[in-house]
């Protein structure tokens, strides 16, 4: 037996052994499941609304070339600049070029998964631009040299003591564990930055094709400051963020915050249509939109297309029995949780993330909570099939399934195998429990005892009962 653990399994073992992490995850995810339910229950016909959201997104993806061209034309009509990036590297080049051309030195950043994905902060800093994360969670991640572990609430894995130590060390403030005081320290620190900044970088939640509008959903106000204070605002978006019409936003906005945090809407829903007008009182003089492909069109051109519907609400992370035990870091990707299990291998390679499609019981909770009705379990099963075709899974694994296939194909063989296993396990059992099973089954009994098999199989009992019922 191969006992060397893969990086994912090592990370999972470490996460499971960390009682503090598990307590934090348990309390955060169970709380979020509750508010998700409250939020969705407020809708008078949530299922119909989710169905509608799913089909609008699917339609947009199926005609993405049309909507993308329309969006680009509208942004440019309004005086915005559009940049295209086939890869993460080219997206970073576009950003550093904008910073260089305008002599921008101090960048404030609102939370954005796409900028995480393309590694933007490191690229800008290498070019001499100071980048400050302004979302409270991301700010704490940045000063503590950590990584986010959730796509909506990035420091779900951190407790206040860790945060208090980071603030004391990095900001030079008196040690305090009070969340209110910690927040005020961050506010004071960042206010000064917001006064001086010249470049603001945000993500995009939705991009409206018919008007060239970008929509941003935030809670803290840092997002609004980021797209109000600096001279230049750059919005970074994946090609899949589009919706056709302004009225479609009503559908998605009613679902996004309810699914993520249980709010009817996030505190600030900003719709940006072009840069500041000539007679506007304030706002950035320039608006740039960087449109990133980075593997998305490859996903679009195949059977996994529907994963691009995802609006990054985080509901599937909170609902997932795997995520809620192991947290986000174990996935070793910007996109953790159920959606990440599909997206991460597709954006990279199947071989880069061999364990992720397997790390699921296919319980289907992710599909149940998804506001755009993505069939995540179905996609995971398809990925497993592709893993076998591409020989990503190990030899033992493949052989096991070959055996299982044989057993299932020939009923006589199945009965024989079942009889053998029953005999062996019953011989090993004490007081109705098997504490150590032989061979590969030991992997199960390493984790928990197995109940001893019944003396007779269900099939035997069933056949007999049918016989008894039959009139003589």
């Amino acid at each position: 037996m191969n006992d060397a653990l893969s990086p994912f399994r090592t990370a999972v073992a470490a996460a499971l052994a960390d009682a503090g992490l598990r307590a934090a995850l348990y309390s955060a995810t169970s709380n979020k499941q509750a508010v998700h339910k409250t939020g969705i229950d407020q809708l008078h016909d949530a299922d119909a609304l989710r169905e509608l959201a799913g089909s609008i997104k699917q339609h947009t993806l199926d005609h993405l070339d049309t909507y993308l061209s329309q969006f680009v034309a509208r942004v440019e009509d309004r005086g915005g600049h559009v940049h295209f990036a086939p890869t993460a590297g080219e997206a970073c080049v576009a950003l550093t070029r904008i910073a260089r051309q305008h002599g921008l030195r101090l960048c404030v950043k609102a939370k954005s998964m796409t900028t995480e994905e393309i590694g933007l902060t490191a690229a800008l800093e290498a070019d001499g631009v100071q980048v400050v994360e302004t979302d409270l969670g991301e700010f704490i991640v940045q000063i503590d040299h950590d990584r986010p572990s959730h796509i909506v609430t990035p420091i779900i894995h951190k407790n206040r003591r860790v945060i208090a130590r980071a603030f004391e060390r990095e900001l030079g403030v008196a040690y305090t564990e009070d969340p209110q005081e910690l927040t005020q320290h961050a506010r004071r620190h960042l206010r000064d930055i917001f006064r001086r900044c010249d470049l603001g970088i945000t993500g995009v939640n939705f991009a409206v094709a018919e008007t060239g509008t970008i929509c941003l959903c935030t809670n803290e106000g840092n997002g609004r400051l980021t797209l109000t204070r600096p001279r230049v605002h750059v919005a970074v978006m994946g090609i899949e963020k589009l919706v056709p019409r302004m009225q479609d936003l009503a559908v998605f906005l009613k679902l996004l915050a309810r699914s993520g945090t249980g709010q009817p809407l996030t505190c600030y829903t900003s719709l940006i249509t072009g840069p500041r007008r000539a007679d506007d009182a304030d706002g950035p003089a320039e608006l740039h939109v960087v449109i990133v492909d980075n593997g998305r069109s490859d996903i679009l051109a195949g059977p996994y297309r529907q994963i691009l519907r995802c609006i990054r609400c985080g509901a599937c992370l909170n609902a997932c029995p795997v995520y809620s035990k192991i947290g986000g870091h174990a996935y070793d990707s910007v996109y953790p949780g159920p959606v990440g299990k599909v997206l991460s291998p597709l954006l990279a390679t199947l071989a880069r993330y061999p364990d992720l499609p397997q790390a699921s019981s296919l319980c289907g909770l992710c599909r149940e909570v998804c506001p755009v009705r993505i069939d995540i379990p179905g996609l995971l099963v398809r990925l497993r099939r592709d893993q076998v075709r591409q020989r990503v899974v190990g030899r033992t694994h493949r052989r096991l399934f070959q055996w299982a296939g044989l057993l299932l194909r020939y009923p006589a063989l199945y009965r024989l195998g079942q009889g053998l296993a029953r005999a062996v396990l019953r011989r090993r059992s004490e007081e109705g429990w098997v504490r150590q099973a032989p061979a590969l089954m030991r992997r199960i009994t390493d984790l928990h005892d197995l109940r001893a098999p019944a003396p007779q199989s269900f099939r035997t009992l069933w056949t007999r009962s049918r016989k008894d019922e039959r009139p003589a």
């Binding site: 339609h59 993308l68 990036a85 249509t273 297309r305």
Partner: protein
């Protein structure tokens, strides 16, 4: 630059063609029956106030004649809560501006944009009108424009928004389906609550980067009763 544009657009074109046109999803209508949330039993003003209070805004309903006194009171409280002398930033085309200015307490210094960054970051409150309000979600809507300062409802710790009763729309769909595509402001922001976070251990904190206190004053015609919650 144009090569990158062509490369991305051509890639998306080819990818979209993975499905034949007949297999692609048609564009569904945004059916109001599904999207609009029914609001039965209560009036728009009352529903708006309930929902606004639920998201942490502080709604009040006043008549035109009671408006100055009400805002004067809010400013007095804001001023006494602050260590430094309090300034208030007042939008140039605020509805009932003269009435309101006359009621500003002596302890509060009135500023009209444009102001320096120094002043902007020091003032204690901002008073603005709104472009609309949404009853379903309890939101107010602010837009950018020649005399509309984006910073005014964002930088000061207290924001006071004056809403005319007839500005309240029933549903978010009413706001978005009727927004004129050719005449959109550079920025339209739907405000649904004070600035808030629950990043640290899920504990709710208000006033992170934006205003921690948002007062929404709904002005109704004379003779209507005061329906503000909590009074």
């Amino acid at each position: 630059m144009n090569a990158l544009r062509e490369s991305v657009l051509a890639g998306v074109r080819v990818a979209a063609d993975y499905l034949p046109p007949s297999a692609r999803e048609p564009l569904p209508p945004v059916t109001p029956d599904i999207v609009r949330q029914p609001t039965t039993g209560v009036g728009l003003v009352e529903l708006f106030c309930q929902r606004a209070a639920a998201v942490g805004l502080r709604p009040a309903v006043v008549t035109e004649s009671a408006l100055p006194r009400h805002i004067g009171e809010l400013l007095r409280k804001a001023a006494s809560a602050q260590a430094a002398p309090c300034g208030v930033l007042v939008e140039p085309d605020l509805p009932w501006r003269e009435l309101i200015l006359a009621a500003v307490p002596d302890s509060v210094n009135v500023l009209t944009p444009p102001v320096s960054d120094e002043q902007l970051f020091a003032v204690g409150a901002g008073i603005s009108g709104v472009a609309a309000a949404v009853a379903e979600t309890g939101s107010i809507v602010c837009v950018s424009g020649p005399s509309r300062w984006r910073s005014l409802s964002l930088v000061p710790p207290v924001h006071i928004a004056v809403v005319r009763e007839e500005q309240i729309l029933p549903d978010l769909l009413d706001l978005l389906a009727t927004a004129p595509p050719e005449n959109l402001p550079a920025q339209l922001v739907v405000i649904t609550g004070p600035s808030k976070t629950a990043d640290i251990e899920g504990i709710l904190i208000t006033g992170v980067h934006g205003p921690g206190e948002v007062h929404v004053v709904v002005v109704t015609a004379e003779g209507e009763i005061d329906r503000s919650p909590g009074t």
